[in-house]
Symmetry: C2
Subunit: 325 residues, 2 copies
């Protein structure tokens, strides 16, 4: 599925115009990877734009150059090359891809196991803990521009997607790359402060409410959070405010699977599933409802009311969990 | 102040009996450093013991070999060499040092700036984010035994003392060392799971309650948690359950000072103060009531009811905070 870095380097060097895209509801890895590539390509003299359906989350606005990341325009445009980053499925590019009328080459760089390789060129490394780590390797391997602002963007990508170097996906090589990024000029104290100590008050108040209404199932091996549209409206919750809150219930010793249920538009419920046990595959659970992700972290959007979706998902996951005493 | 690693290596190699000590109320860096040294010296064929006043905290009992760390015996013993690790002042060794009748050489290895160099041999590196990082360098430099169980102990030391590679003290070299430790056999997923994802459910339920009753003052620049004796009894809260919860309100962007008020015995209230701004000195604030600590983290015990103590402390800290617009 991988054509290697060389043909990707060739396509990027020969392109005149490049659109750098990432998935809807972009997280730190999505934004960090997108920012690193747009900065590198700009430096290379390309006409480059970076879009995603939701634009730049406020929480990453501190990153230098991040203002280059916007929502897509209403009128479709054409590009030589489209670069899809950290996006497991083409439709997860959302209005980012529909705002592109024509392109010559679609390059797909990702670390999600479920990525089918929808690009003309693909580089899928499921061992990489973050797409940002692949971008680091691409830039160095292909001798593309690399400077402190890029290092900071990639550090954010890797730090956030490894839970600050805690998740299973973190390897000796990840630490080595992080060391190289710090050496290249990352202001680690400021970055940590902005990522991990600068949350809006509404996020913390929301956490209090979620905890108060948390439910536990299958002998406390499943824990759930539930977020209604009403609560989102009352606290003016942005999508980014929710990121990572599920880790709070996931951190309980008895919990093997944590599930976040979020009421979204069109009579659907978004679920995020976090597993601590490879035998209980979050990706497989979410595929049941047309979603996907990684073995330990996946998501889906399911039609139904909160109550309906909660009932069927908790029942399904309970059956899975109770297979392993 | 530093005699270098060579004379320390010589003393350890020539000793017959060694006592490895660390500070009272040992944290991850204390236990990880102590365990690494006791394992290395045991492998070297020494008669070695590892004590600290409080013994092995339950949360580190998962580390292989950790059963070697105990409380000191009642009857004082004699040793060739005493190794004091991660301990800023001799008296912080507590009953660990008073349980030693005689010794020939006291070796003091630490990273605290306030360490006066109380050893016969000293190695104080205030740039090191953790004593565990110094121990790694000592073992490698002096070609002392180094194997997976030692790597895991040192990884715990470094991970916990850097807030999982987030604090200012984390350098490119720290990442490099972490990478070497993972390469040497650290089971990162298991270690992270035991350190960061194995909290009792009661701690998380307590967090929900604290958040629901959190108060904000001085234009959201002060945030407080309040814990009553009744809540502690209802949720069977251990002192260790409370550790770090204050960081949740400290992580709000507007918050400069976070204060934890805990009702304790004898009509007193324990306060923990965390500042994000060096101009607002937590140590000075706490000294007002006979407490102390560091500029960004300090504590005190104050006589009075919760209501009385809250009123006077919040009023005092508000005045401090409002000096700086």
């Amino acid at each position: 599925m991988n054509q290697g870095f060389a043909p990707i380097g060739d396509v990027l060097r020969s392109a005149g115009t490049v659109a750098v895209l990432t998935h809807v509801r972009p997280d730190g890895d999505a934004i960090g990877s997108q920012l690193a590539m747009v900065l590198a390509l700009q430096k290379l003299g390309k006409t480059v734009t970076a879009w995603n359906e939701d634009g730049l989350p406020e929480s990453f606005a501190f990153l230098k150059g991040s203002e280059l990341i916007t929502k897509p325009p209403d009128e479709p445009l054409e590009f030589d090359t489209v670069l899809a980053l950290d996006t497991a499925a083409r439709n997860r590019l959302g209005t980012g891809i529909t705002a592109i009328r024509t392109y010559k080459t679609l390059v797909n760089i990702d670390h999600h196991a479920s990525n089918p390789g929808y690009g003309d060129l693909n580089y899928i490394d499921v061992q990489a803990p973050a797409t940002g780590q692949i971008i680091y390797e691409l830039l160095r391997d292909q001798k593309l521009p690399f400077f402190p602002e890029i290092a900071e963007a990639l550090f954010v990508a890797i730090s956030t997607d490894t839970g600050s170097f805690r998740y299973q996906n973190t390897t000796a090589h990840t630490f080595e790359v992080a060391g190289k990024l710090v050496e290249a000029g990352v202001d680690l104290a400021t970055i940590s402060h902005r990522i991990y100590e600068s949350y809006p008050k509404r996020r913390i108040l929301l956490l209090g409410q979620l905890l108060n209404e948390a439910t536990f199932h299958a002998h406390d091996r499943i824990a759930t959070f539930t977020l209604t549209e009403a609560t989102k409206a009352r606290l003016s919750i942005d999508p980014a405010d929710i990121d990572g809150l599920i880790d709070v219930i996931r951190s309980i010793d008895t919990v093997v699977v944590a599930i976040f249920f979020e009421e979204v538009a069109d009579q659907r419920v978004r679920i995020s599933v976090r597993s601590k046990d490879l035998r209980i595959d979050a990706n497989r659970i979410c595929s049941t409802w047309g979603g996907g992700g990684h073995p330990l972290a996946a998501g889906a959007r399911i039609r139904g009311t909160l109550e309906q979706v909660r009932t069927k998902v908790i029942s399904y996951v309970s059956d899975e969990v109770l297979k392993y005493p």
